[in-house]
Each structure stands twice: as structure tokens, then as C-alpha cells.
Subunit: 348 residues, 2 copies
DNA sequence: CCTTAGCACTCATCAAATAAGAGTGCTAAT
DNA sequence: ATTAGCACTCTTATTTGATGAGTGCTAAGG
């Protein structure tokens, strides 16, 4: 365990490194932070911290820079949360207010705001369908047994695609099925829909063609939608002057699958999560950190949003920002979902 | 007018500069291109070309590089089209084959293919709604007079958004209107829909609430959807080593509005269009060139696709690629639209 | 025993100096 | 009209030396 002095010095090093991106030496700390210690003492202490794995040396005679472990300790134990000022919150809310009724607009805008206020790259992973609830289905028949299926979720997300079935169903038949679905399924979570349908079909002795249709409608590849805002912000930071590295990072950002995979691994616990460098266990983003939070619809986890930036990130600010945005999005989406769900009572 | 020799030399300079990104000198040309002229002669000639505005000097004792005017001449008069090889076409078709039934997937995939085969950045501007034809409308009522409107175009594009109206319409009323619309409007171009509706309403003496609703459904902001693929490819090219410039270019790419504006200005003439550097009349992309083509649905202009890269672009190859992809997309979308439109005859 | 001053040593970075090379533009010869 | 030759310019790469930040160690002081 680190003693009090070591903590203070570690904190000072990280704080300074975050601000400057330059290796920080003992003198700097002695001068800038009122520790009342001589550089020499600090040097000794830093040597200890290095041995313990919290700091490293880029080369023999340079200052220290934090390791992943160092950042982790800072984030867990040292860092104080820097709440957003009232003005900032107001600005965000203003950025946010207009025309926020299409869910994809909300996602897009959120990723923009996250990047704008953090100066890093913002992202939003769209609501996970499995976790959503069903609201409405439309089927528009095309030729050759093709059908355009339009699926509306409880959160107002609209998913459409063209499906093909072997057995051609008549128009009346289709209408009947549709009515049945829109009558029985609303508010059912998607992950329980298939079993529900198969149960119902058994009871009512319906044909196989319908099951085939249903199966296609309610099956989708896991490719969730990822919104990224402010990719260029990455270029702002000195550690990415070097194009060779930067390029691989842009490649990583372009590969939505990668990010999606990483994000899906972060457990959907409460609050803000931080993933530093190699902790993400993904080579391509080993020099990046993620600050993420889960947003919820009606209290149920729906998706993930957050910020991607250099390991040397202003965690204290970013954490507050991400937290705030997660709550904001949760609220907006929950409201939207109420609008939609309660329409059942009023409209029909 | 340039004489034969000047043309050959200009062609050689540009060809070489495209390949190397380095200013090209008289010796290089004398050696690499069988012009049977001494460097000195070539120098004289290049001086003339410079005076005429086709070439420049970065500094006194460097080789020549082409100006916008030089590129323009090259593209218009000198360049031979380098057709795609059979293998390339086969590869593209293979990349393209799978699951191409959702229109947004087609757009996404097309932009990817464009970037993959050009090594520049590919883009597709989604079909312009104004030019599309109506196919189907669904209205799903929510509470408080909110309505989820789902609009299907003749090309299979699905647009959905939530609209609000003052006067609450009853469920039956809504159904009636919907039936009417889906009966009368199909195959009508969107740009003629509003007048059509207002005519109809007059004849049938319907209430104002309906006009308000219709107006909202068939009005949209011009924000068309832009798909970009392979942004990073820009980083591959030596002229963008310099981060300062590169950053502004990424900003430009991020600003979809900008690109959309530029693209909408390129007239929808036949075939491939090339925009070089400042010709686009937009400061931020003054160091970039665009190669674009219009794709069509049933012979009617629907949208624009193409490639964005450095001014020093391999125009001869890229032109063929863009041309090919435009034809490909036209075909795919036209087929898709047939599937959808003919469903009227079969399904209903 | 902890802290600190002092000092030798290591690297990285910067600037100036130098060298090399590419390319031009001009002149004079062919 | 073409070309060879040459002086001149400017860029780029390389070397060199100086500077300075920072460490690690040792020994002295509280």
C-alpha cells in the first residue's frame, strides 16, 4: 500500500502529465505542488513508485510518466470528480433541446455533444434490441414473397428490412397475423418474443409458414449501431503527432465492430466505468482510454455511451460529463418511450 | 493552344507527380519518358508551361508540380481512361453480393467499396427524396397528437420520424386518410405530392387538420444522408503528412453539410464529373479533388456517389471505378424499386 | 533514520554548420 | 531549334556541439 506522501506525489505526477503530456521530473513537482519536499526526496519516492509499477521512464534521464496501473490508482483512489459547472450544463441542455424526437438524431447529437465538451471522441452505442420491448410491427408485401418489415420498439427505435419467405402468404392472412401481433406482443421484451410466439402457435395450431416469417422478423445480426462524433479531436493531442500510430487508431475507430465488441464486454454495472489502455485487452487501442456509462430506458439498461481519448485523459472532467450525458439520454429516451407506450392506452 | 510536345511534357509531369507526389524535374522526364529530348529542351518547355499557368514551382530550384489548370487540362484532354480489369470487376461484384437488400446497407457498402478500390475516401449521397416516388405510408398514433410516420419510397428507402399536430385526429379518421393516401399516391413523385394533395382536398372538401398533417409528413429538411467510407485513406498520402492541414481536411469530411452542399452544386449531367482543388469553390477542401457520378433509378437521377482524394489523384483509374459503381448502384436500386413497385400489382 | 545538498553522468533536443544533390536559367556552341 | 556546360539557388540530410533537464548515488545534516 502506498503511504500518504507517495499518493500525493503520484497524484501530482499524473495531474501534471495530464496537463502537459510531457514527462514530469522531480523539480517540477517540488516547485508546482506545495509538498515542502526537496527534489531529491521526491526522486527517491518516484523511484519507489516506479519499482511498484505506477510510473515509468521513457529513457534514463527523462521525467516519469504514469503506467496503466498508475492511471488506474489515480482514477480509483486519488481523483476527485470535477462536476460540470451550471453554465456547462445549461450549454449542453441548449445544444440538446431542438428537434430531439427522432431516436437516431438523439444518438447523433449525443455523440457530438460528448466530443464537443470533452475535446476527445464521443460515441453512443444504440439501444440493444434484445433488451428493448416490442411496440408495433408493420408488414408491407412486395413481390416474390418479399416483405418489407418495419419494427418499432418501445423506445421509438424503428428497424426496417426486407425479408424473404418461401411460402407465399395471402394478403388477408398477413393482415390477420399482423393484427394478432400488434394486439398481443406490445410491451413484451424482444428476448422473450420468440418463445411467446412459438407457445401461441402451438395453442392455436397455426401453420409453419408463419413461424418462418416470425423467425425472420425477430432475428437480427448483432450489428448494433455505433455513433461516433469528433473523430478529429484525437488529432488535437500531442501524443498522436506521430502519424504511424495515429493511423492505426483511426483504423480502430473506423472498425465499428471492434469498438462494439469492447463495449459489450464492459459489464453493465451502475455508474461510470473507465477502461485504461491495455485494460481493454485490444491491441489496436492500447494507447487509448474509454470512459463509458450505461444509459437506461425506464430503469433498464439500454445502451452504452462515452468518450474515447488518449490514456492521458482529463478523467475528472470526463467522468462527470459522461455521467451527466448518460442521465440526460436516459431521461430523454424514457420520456420518448412513455409517449410511445402510453399511446396504447389513448390511441387504441 | 499547346503544341504536341508541350502536351506530352505536361502529361509526363503530371503522370510522374501523381505517382510520386514529388516535384518533377527535367532530367527525370528525359530519362523516364521516351521523348528523345535533352533535359535542357524540356526545361525550356516547362518554363513555357509555367508561364501559361499549367505548372508551378514550389521554390526556385525545385521541379514542377501541376496547378489546378494543369490537372484540368490533363483530365479533359490528355488522360486515357484505365478500365477496370475483369478481375477487379469480379472482386467488386463479390464484395457486393451479400445481403444487399436494405438500402442503407447498399449505401454503406458502396462507400466502402469505393474507398477500398481507390485507396481514397469513398462517399455516397443517399437518394434525394424530392426526386423519388412515393410508395407507401404508415402512421402509428402516439399520445398528445404525436404520430410516428413511416414513409416508404419507390426505391425502398424508409424514412421515419415523429410529427406533432395541434388538432387530434381520431383513430378511424387516421385510418381513412391513410387508406386514401396509399390508394391514390403510389408512383407519384414527391415533388408533385403536395400540390396533388391540396387539389384533392379542395375537391373532396376535407378539413384543415388533415392538410396540416400532410404538410408535415411530406416536408423535410434538406439534410440528406451521406455515407463516407475509408476516411483514413486520406492519411496514406504524403501530401497530408502535415497534421495542420490534415486536420482541417478531416474537419471538412466531418461536416457533412459542406460536402452535401458541394455535391448538390455539381450539375446532374451524364457521366463522371471531376472537380479539382479550388474548382469546388470551397476553401476547406481546396487541396482535394472530387470524382463523382450520378446514379439513377429507372433512368431518373437519384443521388451522387464518388471519391474524394488529394488533387494528385489517379484520375484515370478512379474515373472508371466511379463510373462502374454508379452503374452498379443504379442497377441494384432499379431492381429493388421494381421489386417494390410491382408489388402493387401482385400483392394488392 | 529520514531528508537534503552536491555532483557526475545520461539523454534528448536545439541550433548552427556543413555537405550533398537536385534543379533551374542562362549562354554559347552545334 | 536544340543541346551542352556551368554558375547559382534552394532544399534536405548529416554532423557537431552546446544546453539543459533529469536521474542516481553518496555523503552530510537534522
Amino acid at each position: 500500500m502506498l503511504d500518504k506522501r507517495e499518493k500525493r506525489i503520484l497524484g501530482a505526477v499524473i495531474h501534471n502529465y495530464i496537463a502537459t503530456a510531457l514527462p514530469v521530473g522531480s523539480r517540477t513537482i517540488a516547485k508546482k505542488y506545495r509538498l515542502d519536499l526537496s527534489p531529491a526526496t521526491i526522486r527517491n519516492c518516484m523511484a519507489d513508485l516506479e519499482e511498484a509499477g505506477y510510473l515509468t521512464h521513457p529513457h534514463t534521464s527523462a521525467g516519469r510518466i504514469p503506467t496503466d496501473k498508475g492511471y488506474r490508482f489515480y482514477v480509483n483512489r486519488l481523483m476527485e470528480r470535477e462536476d460540470l459547472s451550471r453554465e456547462e450544463k445549461a450549454r449542453i441542455e441548449k445544444e440538446y433541446s431542438n428537434r430531439m424526437n427522432r431516436i437516431d438524431q438523439i444518438m447523433e447529437e449525443t455523440s457530438q455533444v460528448l466530443s464537443l465538451f470533452s475535446h476527445y471522441t464521443g460515441f453512443v452505442l444504440a439501444p440493444n434490441l434484445e433488451e428493448s420491448i416490442f411496440h408495433h410491427l408493420e408488414l408491407i408485401p412486395l413481390e416474390n414473397g418479399r416483405i418489407l418489415s418495419i419494427l418499432v420498439t418501445g423506445s421509438g427505435l424503428v428497424k426496417n428490412r426486407i425479408i424473404e419467405i418461401e411460402k407465399v402468404l395471402s394478403q388477408e392472412r398477413l393482415q390477420k397475423i399482423l393484427a394478432l401481433i400488434n394486439n398481443r406482443l406490445p410491451n413484451l421484451p424482444f428476448k422473450r418474443i420468440k418463445e411467446f410466439i412459438s407457445d401461441q402457435l402451438k395453442i392455436e395450431g397455426q401453420a409453419k409458414g408463419i413461424w418462418e416469417l416470425m423467425d425472420q422478423i425477430f432475428t437480427w445480426d448483432g450489428a448494433e449501431e455505433l455513433y461516433l462524433g469528433g473523430r478529429i479531436n484525437i488529432l488535437e493531442h500531442p501524443e498522436f503527432r506521430d502519424l504511424t500510430r495515429t493511423k492505426s487508431i483511426f483504423q480502430a475507430l473506423e472498425e465499428k465492430r471492434l469498438l462494439t465488441a469492447v463495449l459489450n464486454k464492459t459489464a453493465s454495472s451502475e455508474g461510470v466505468r473507465i477502461l485504461i489502455g491495455k485494460e481493454a485487452r485490444w491491441r489496436k487501442i492500447k494507447d487509448l482510454s474509454l470512459v463509458t456509462s450505461t444509459y437506461r430506458i425506464n430503469g433498464l439498461p439500454a445502451g452504452v455511451l462515452g468518450v474515447i481519448g488518449p490514456r492521458r485523459m482529463e478523467y475528472s472532467k470526463v467522468v462527470s460529463l459522461v455521467d451527466f450525458m448518460a442521465k440526460m439520454v436516459s431521461e430523454v429516451l424514457t420520456n420518448l418511450s412513455h409517449t410511445i407506450i402510453s399511446s396504447r392506452r389513448v390511441g387504441k
